[in-house]
């Protein structure tokens, strides 16, 4: 491997801009990092070059650990978006600069410089100054300059970003040819999808500091695993259906899946992707020759050069929820994007308003369902603080967020939801605001019945009615509960208190998943009662913690373990005081016969600490369907576990 990145993390003011990125690039490979601006892709590149210091993780270039080496000793060649040619030097001097710094003899320098000018198609222009040539030519010189000393790896930071469309295409080809000829391992950073597809041997997609997926361009386009990648690459039709045996059910139809996920359970909700080119249109259902989605109305037809682009509106399908293209607020129709060749368009001309049968050739099921947060707010300062903190966490987790307002009148409610929306801002996978006139417990119950959530968030400062609400929230649905006392940055050091045994596994799995999203570190704590301290109990706790640590390791979460003997609330409080933690994870007590969860007693003493930092109450796995994984996965399941996260 030419380039190996291990758990790279970079924070600014506590916020991770690069979050636990691991990557391997093979010898001679052209790797492209794709992401929108602010996704952290350029930061990764600068960390490889040594222009930005690494907070956590390692960088290996050809097996050499360069994490703490200065840029000068890393042997990387770099090309910048704005060319960054030395303005006071001629092109020849620019190219020779890297040879001069390494004290290469003059004759050899001159030879190499001419060779490179030839390579980038600028032979004979060596005597000019940078400002005397065009942007495209300047970038060719920058490339020649980076290659002059034959670096170990080539780093390209949006090299074509500042150029005209036509020159960009031309230089793209040159870049690919030169990379092939020199065989140099290359990472290119871009926000241009087309550029990424054309240049990449393999592709990585970044969002909010995280490397979402890595793969061959075709795989990522046709078989993405995450909703983000599905919608970021190309145009996506994304619906939520139900898993059924060997396939997935969309309305009355069941589509067979080629790549049936091992993780799908019967009746699981599953996201289904099909691309515009997978859509078939015909005048009658018989002519479709593909599974039928329904009779749609043409909403829009656009000419796209060699193809035609259509947007179709289908009536709602029972049990099917559309994600992309997004449906206008309050609508329940299903929108479908389709493309046809001009040939097909001529045989069956369509205009807006026409009705047409819509079929789908093939669908792909996404493995990763994505996290879903429900934020409760009554507009109070406490709730607003909770929204702010939850927003940081949701952004890092790339979660879909629903904001549920209650206890406010019409205009005040409207204004509060509007403000909260602005505060949450961009970066969430989705943001939906709803309001309810019911009491908070009832409003939440209705909402979680409408759709299930992974996490419900509420402001909490220890008042008794809040404990009652928390109990209600845990009694409905299948979610975990996050109690937030104040506005703060996303947690970076998390104390996970585990009970030894079955319920503890879910504590570790869910909080581990969240910790990984946050790029935080975790400490697993087990408290052993003193009266049973006959040597067996601590040993069992330690074994359990080791399993937990191993699980977290597989999730890519840096973790430590601690065992304490004594009463649980006291020891946990002592650990909190000692360890500078900014979040606490507790397992919820098991529900009683009526399904109610009682938060009084021992746990209430721990919840009191929630006045200082957020407390995540994880519901025990026995009450949840789904992740039925052994805590220490056998090798066959390690792969599955990674996919979940």
């Amino acid at each position: 491997m030419s380039i190996v990145l291990e758990h790279l993390t970079k924070r600014y003011d506590g916020h991770p801009v690069v979050n636990n990125v691991s990557l391997e690039v093979a010898d001679g490979e052209f790797f492209v990092l794709l992401g929108s601006s602010g996704s952290g892709k350029t930061t990764v590149l600068n960390m490889v070059a040594g222009l930005i210091r690494t907070d956590q993780g390692r960088i290996l270039l050809h097996g050499r650990d360069v994490t703490h080496l200065p840029t000068q000793q890393r042997r990387v060649g770099m090309v910048f978006q704005n060319y960054a040619l030395f303005q006071n030097m001629t092109l020849a001097e620019n190219i020779e600069f890297g040879l001069q710094t390494r004290k290469v003899p003059k004759a050899e320098r001159r030879h190499r410089r001419n060779e490179l000018l030839e390579l980038v198609g600028l032979a004979g222009l060596g005597g000019r100054l940078p400002k005397q040539i065009s942007g495209g030519q300047q970038q060719r010189v920058a490339l020649a300059r980076a290659l002059a000393y034959k670096p170990d790896v080539l780093l390209l930071d949006e090299p074509l970003g500042a150029l005209d469309a036509k020159i960009r295409l031309e230089l793209r080809r040159t870049l690919k040819t030169i990379q092939r000829e020199t065989g140099i391992t290359t990472i290119l950073v871009t926000h241009d999808q087309e550029e990424a597809f054309e240049l990449a041997d393999r592709l990585g997609v970044m969002s909010f500091g995280r490397l979402m997926e890595v793969g061959y361009p075709e795989d990522l386009y046709k078989r993405p695993q995450t909703e983000f990648v599905a919608t970021f690459l190309g145009t996506a039709n994304l619906l939520v259906g139900l898993a059924q045996g060997e396939g997935v059910q969309l309305g009355a139809l069941t589509f067979p899946l080629q790549d049936v996920s091992s993780l799908l359970h019967h009746d699981d909700r599953v996201q289904v992707l099909f691309r515009p080119e997978d859509v078939v249109l015909a005048e009658s259902p018989e002519q479709l020759g593909a599974p039928r989605l329904g009779l749609g109305e043409v909403e829009q037809v656009t000419f796209g050069g060699s193809f035609e682009r259509l947007r179709l509106r289908l009536p709602p399908l029972p049990g099917v929820r559309p994600i992309a293209p997004p449906v206008a607020f309050g609508g329940n129709a299903i929108l479908v994007e389709a493309t046809r060749s001009q040939d097909e368009a001529e045989q069956l001309p369509l205009r807006a308003g026409h009705n047409i049968w819509v079929g789908v050739r093939q669908v792909h099921a996404l493995e990763h369902p994505g996290l879903r947060f429900l934020l409760l707010s009554d507009g109070s300062p406490l709730a607003q603080a909770a929204i702010q903190t939850a927003g940081h966490i949701a952004r890092l987790a790339h979660a879909r967020v629903t904001l549920l307002g209650y206890g406010l009148d019409g205009e005040a409610m409207h204004q509060h939801l509007q403000e909260a929306r602005e505060q949450l801002g961009s970066g969430l996978a989705a943001l939906d605001a709803r309001s309810s006139a019911a009491a908070p417990a009832e409003a939440a119950r209705q909402e979680v019945e409408r759709q299930s959530y992974d996490l419900v968030v509420m402001g909490y400062n220890g008042q008794s009615e809040q404990i009652a609400l928390a109990e209600h929230l845990l009694a409905v649905g299948e979610h975990h509960l996050l109690l937030i006392p104040a506005a703060q940055a996303a947690p970076t050091r998390i104390l996970i208190c585990v009970t030894t045994g079955e319920p503890g596994k879910e504590d570790v799995l869910f909080s581990g998943r969240l910790t990984r999203h946050l790029g935080a570190t975790a400490v697993l704590l087990s408290v052993v009662p003193p009266e049973q301290g006959n040597g067996q109990q601590p040993a069992r706790a330690e074994r359990f913690l080791m399993g937990g640590e191993r699980t977290l390791e597989l999730l890519g979460v840096p973790a430590e373990t601690a065992v304490r003997t004594g009463s649980a609330p006291d020891e946990i409080a002592a650990e909190l005081a000692a360890g500078d933690y900014d979040m606490l994870v507790l397992g919820a007590p098991l529900p009683d016969a009526d399904g109610n969860i009682n938060l009084t007693g021992t746990i209430s003493r721990l919840l009191a600490t929630a006045k200082e930092r957020p407390v995540l109450v994880v519901r025990a796995a026995v009450s949840r369907r789904g992740l039925d994984l052994p805590l220490i996965p056998s090798s066959a399941r390690i792969h599955d576990l990674k996919e979940v996260v």
């Binding site: 070059a49 040594g50 222009l51 200065p70 840029t71 000068q72 000793q73 890393r74 990387v76 060649g77 770099m78 910048f80 978006q81 704005n82 960054a84 040619l85 030395f86 303005q87 006071n88 600069f97 890297g98 710094t101 390494r102 400002k131 920058a142 300059r145 980076a146 002059a148 000393y149 670096p151 780093l155």
Partner: protein
């Protein structure tokens, strides 16, 4: 048809335009050109030879030389330290940076007489610092050339910082990053990439502070005293000649000082034009 369309802009009234120009030019004449001409007129009134004789008088010549060399020393120190200050202000973050940045312009707002007073209070032979230096190095500061240089440094402090700072801010740091990836050491990066870009603004900042220093009076008259052949600068000499009603001597020295300052300002203008052309 096109030829028939009437212009949409209203025609300007010629006298309004001329009036504004005339006002601006008359003001320039009244305030700058006429007073300057009068001094030149005065200086040259007895002919070139007399003017030269007035400037070449030992006491005058020594004052002019003192002015020039103290200003030159100041300009060099200011160049080095001003560059360093600008560099630190642009490239590093530290607590109090905004305040420091604001303080740099303060010398422009402090009356130069006050500047002189401050320096005497600090470096005077009876004061702590002044006495210590005198005892350990045998060098007086006040009423001697070091005092003059100190006064000039204080008065012209912002000049270099403020001409280098914006250029450093604008400077594309990617060029320095590129040089680092090409294995250039920090010194090479400064010497081959950064310095060439700020060379001209640095030089013009130094020349401006030099031109400003030649005419400095308020701070120097207090710090340097008025000791002929030792600490009397050209501006202080002019003041003395005016006091003793030797108008010719005063005008002659003024003409000399102004000619030097003018040529320096002209040079700065040339350098800045060259800098803008790239």
């Amino acid at each position: 048809m096109a030829s028939m369309t009437t212009p949409t802009t209203t025609p300007r009234i010629p006298w309004a335009r001329l009036g504004i120009r005339g006002m601006a030019l008359s003001y320039l004449f009244l305030m700058l050109i006429i007073p300057i001409s009068v001094i030149f007129w005065d200086g040259f009134s007895e002919g070139m030879v007399t003017l030269w004789q007035e400037v070449a008088k030992p006491i005058a010549w020594s004052a002019l030389k003192l002015t020039l060399w103290t200003s030159a020393v100041m300009a060099i120190i200011n160049g080095v330290m001003g560059l360093l200050t600008a560099f630190v202000l642009v490239r590093y973050t530290f607590p109090g940076k905004t305040t420091l940045n604001a303080i740099i312009d303060l010398p422009l707002a402090i009356p130069t007489l006050v500047t002189g007073l401050m320096l005497v209070a600090l470096y005077g032979p009876q004061q702590v610092v002044g006495a210590w230096v005198l005892e350990h190095f045998g060098q007086r500061i006040i009423f001697a050339p070091p005092g003059i240089v100190l006064a000039l440094l204080f008065v012209t402090f912002p000049f270099v910082v403020r001409s280098v700072q914006p250029v450093l801010l604008d400077l594309d740091q990617a060029q320095e990053d590129a040089a680092a990836t090409l294995a250039a050491t920090s010194w090479m990066i400064f010497h081959r990439i950064t310095f060439p870009a700020i060379r001209l603004p640095l030089l013009s900042g130094m020349l401006l502070s030099f031109a400003r220093a030649i005419g400095e009076f308020g701070a120097i008259v207090i710090v340097a005293g008025n000791i002929p052949f030792r600490s009397q600068t050209a501006a202080v000499y002019v003041y003395g000649e005016v006091e003793s009603e030797n108008r010719l001597g005063a005008s002659a020295m003024s003409v000399a000082m102004m000619l030097i300052a003018f040529s320096v300002v002209a040079l700065v203008g040339y350098l800045e034009r060259r800098g803008r052309r790239g």
